[in-house]
């Protein structure tokens, strides 16, 4: 009967119920979408790192996983690594911000990079021909509506798109290494990738490099190790970011439900009086208010999940390269628990008001 009463209350005022669900759904959606962006970003990073085809990665001194790179590795090291036993390809890359949030330009030696990665998958155009040529992947081309011959402003310079390649190899924007050096004035490299002749030799190559005294300060990873490290927990600040977002989501849910249930209790003053005149206990009155908030929490979660698909589609349409969004199903129960718990907390005060309602005054309420 409690379920019936709760359900009929929810059904009786459909517009208020719908608004509450949508507002809770927005909070849930914000949590799910931002978690999806974070996870999607990390998954994209993993995919693109794996797409380089490299077996070993050497990072600049002073860098670690989860921090940005600095372009300080001497270029001469590329040749040095290339001469090590079992190393068949050694190539250095340079990475700088493109000037848009999250977008990086990768300066590459195209021939060496293609040998390592198995070749760039050209969908349109060709490789670098002249200075200030740029290659972009299909995601970035879709995001900025680029075609071969399009002009692109990067690092305050105009570049010409010479080729569009399939996504998933290192980055979204490639330029010639020497062009990027020229534009930035930097001479060092951000990373050196090595390809090893056979997979079983990777560990011995990494061990040998780590044992080299001159390389003692350089973080050296096998790609397997690097990919294992590529997770949300290992990227500095991301966990805090998520906690802050969840905190905002919780606060919003609480306020939405508080407002909604407070209005519901005010609207239903007379009905609460009727229930009390029938002998309804304080516990029953509180249960009905909390029950309604649970329905709002569950409905809001479903609305939030549906909205997260919509948000993903919107982001995928407009910024597929900059904000890759994943649908993180594992977060649905968490988001649901957050929404329901917040809804319950938000309903406590209205519930208390309902419980404290004087039955005579409530019955006299018009």
């Amino acid at each position: 009967m409690i379920l019936r009463l709760v359900w009929e209350n929810v059904r009786f005022r459909p517009m208020r119920t719908l608004l509450s669900l949508m507002l809770i759904g927005m909070s849930v959606n914000i949590i799910l979408t931002l978690v999806g962006i974070t996870q999607g970003f990390v998954a994209d990073m993993r995919r693109r790192s794996a797409g380089t085809g490299a077996d070993v990665m050497v990072r600049p001194t002073g860098s670690s996983f989860g921090t940005g790179t600095n372009n300080t590795i001497p270029p001469t090291y590329v040749g040095y690594f290339g001469k090590q036993p079992h190393v068949v390809v050694s190539t250095g890359i340079m990475q700088v911000a493109a000037g848009r949030v999250f977008d990086m330009i990768s300066g590459i030696d195209q021939a060496a990079f293609e040998r390592m990665s198995g070749g760039l998958d050209f969908q349109e155009g060709h490789g670098f021909v002249k200075p200030r040529d740029a290659i972009v992947d299909t995601d970035y081309a879709a995001q900025l509506h680029l075609h071969v011959g399009s002009q692109l402003k990067l690092q305050n310079q105009m570049w010409t798109v010479c080729g569009i390649v399939g996504t998933g190899k290192l980055g979204h924007i490639f330029v010639r290494l020497e062009d990027l050096r020229d534009v930035t004035g930097a001479t060092g490299l951000g990373q050196i990738y090595l390809k090893v002749d056979r997979p079983e030799n990777v560990d011995s190559v990494v061990a040998a490099l780590k044992a080299t005294p001159q390389l003692a300060d350089y973080p050296i990873f096998s790609m397997k190790e690097w990919l294992d490290l590529t997770s949300v927990d290992n990227i500095s600040g991301v966990s805090i970011f998520l906690d802050v977002i969840i905190g905002f989501g919780v606060c919003t849910c609480i306020l939405v439900v508080l407002m909604s249930m407070y209005l519901a209790v005010l609207q239903r003053t007379r009905e609460i009086g009727i229930l009390k005149s029938l002998g309804a206990t304080k516990r029953l009155v509180m249960t009905l208010v909390l029950g309604e908030s649970i329905v709002a929490g569950i409905g809001g979660t479903i609305a939030g999940i549906l909205l997260s698909f919509l948000a993903r589609q919107v982001l995928k349409t407009f910024v597929p390269a900059s904000l890759p969004v994943a649908i993180v199903i594992g977060w649905w129960p968490k988001a649901g628990a957050i929404a329901i718990a917040s809804a319950l907390v938000g309903a406590l005060y209205p519930g208390w008001k309902a419980v404290r309602q004087d039955p005579i005054e409530a019955l006299a309420h018009e």
């Binding site: 009463l5 009786f12 009390k276 005149s277 029938l278 002998g279 206990t281 304080k282 029953l284």
Partner: protein, 230 residues
């Protein structure tokens, strides 16, 4: 309380007083009311606005405690028990019929009755069999799936009476039950109350302004200025 052939008093009021305070102003709504209502009686309580009859109704129904005095309702001293006990009294011993019907607007007539049964801790599934006589008497068997907004005032009041009787209360408190009804429906409801009293032995305390309505009771008690006037 039973004593030989003397009927048991189901309501027993002695020196009942109620003072409402609003800021520094005190209003004495009841000024020493003495009243006994035997079990099975249909009592009409008549008085002008402000005479204290509604306050008396609320105290007897356990909706508010008295300021002082003795209020024994169904063997419970309402003035000395906790709020929870008064809630229990409303759940088990008294039931209300209001002028404005006070049905839950979002529920059908059936669910309004089932809600009262649920609150009273009674089984819900067989109520139509158990209440067949009452439902027939009230003539609402065909209206059970309708919401209050889909019913006339007379029908709503009959559903309210069914809801009140569903839990088998010792006392039915009716506050101006015909106040919102036309003449035909008023007479129908009053006849119903008298029938319920005569056929089921239901104790009824009815508040009314209307002398004609009051005449349906066995006894008429007048109230004036917070006291029983006769």
């Amino acid at each position: 309380m039973s004593n030989g052939n003397v009927p048991e008093n189901i309501i027993h009021l002695r020196d009942l007083r109620k003072v409402y305070k609003s800021g520094k102003v005190s209003v004495e709504a009841l000024r020493g009311v003495n009243l006994d209502v035997p079990k099975g009686e249909f009592l009409s309580l008549v008085g002008p606005s402000g005479s204290g009859k509604s306050t008396l109704f609320h105290i007897v129904g356990g909706l508010t405690p008295p300021t002082s005095g003795e209020v024994i309702v169904g063997g419970i001293d309402v003035g000395k028990v906790s709020d929870a006990k008064r809630t229990e009294l409303r759940r088990t011993s008294v039931a209300f019929v209001f002028q404005k019907f006070n049905l839950l607007p979002n529920l059908t007539a059936r669910d309004n009755i089932r809600t009262a049964l649920y609150i009273a801790g009674r089984p819900l599934d067989k109520f139509e069999d158990e209440l067949r006589n009452v439902l027939e008497l009230l003539g609402i068997e065909g209206r059970l799936d309708h919401r209050p907004s889909e019913m006339s005032g007379g029908e709503q009041q009959r559903v309210a009476i069914a809801r009140a009787l569903a839990t088998g209360p010792a006392i039915l408190l009716a506050d101006e039950p015909t106040g919102n009804l036309d003449t035909a429906n008023s007479q129908a409801v009053l006849n119903l109350l008298r029938d319920l009293n005569e056929r089921l032995g239901q104790t009824i305390l009815m508040i009314t302004h209307n002398d004609e309505a009051a005449a349906y009771g066995h006894r008429i008690v007048h109230m004036r200025d917070g006291q029983i006037a006769g």
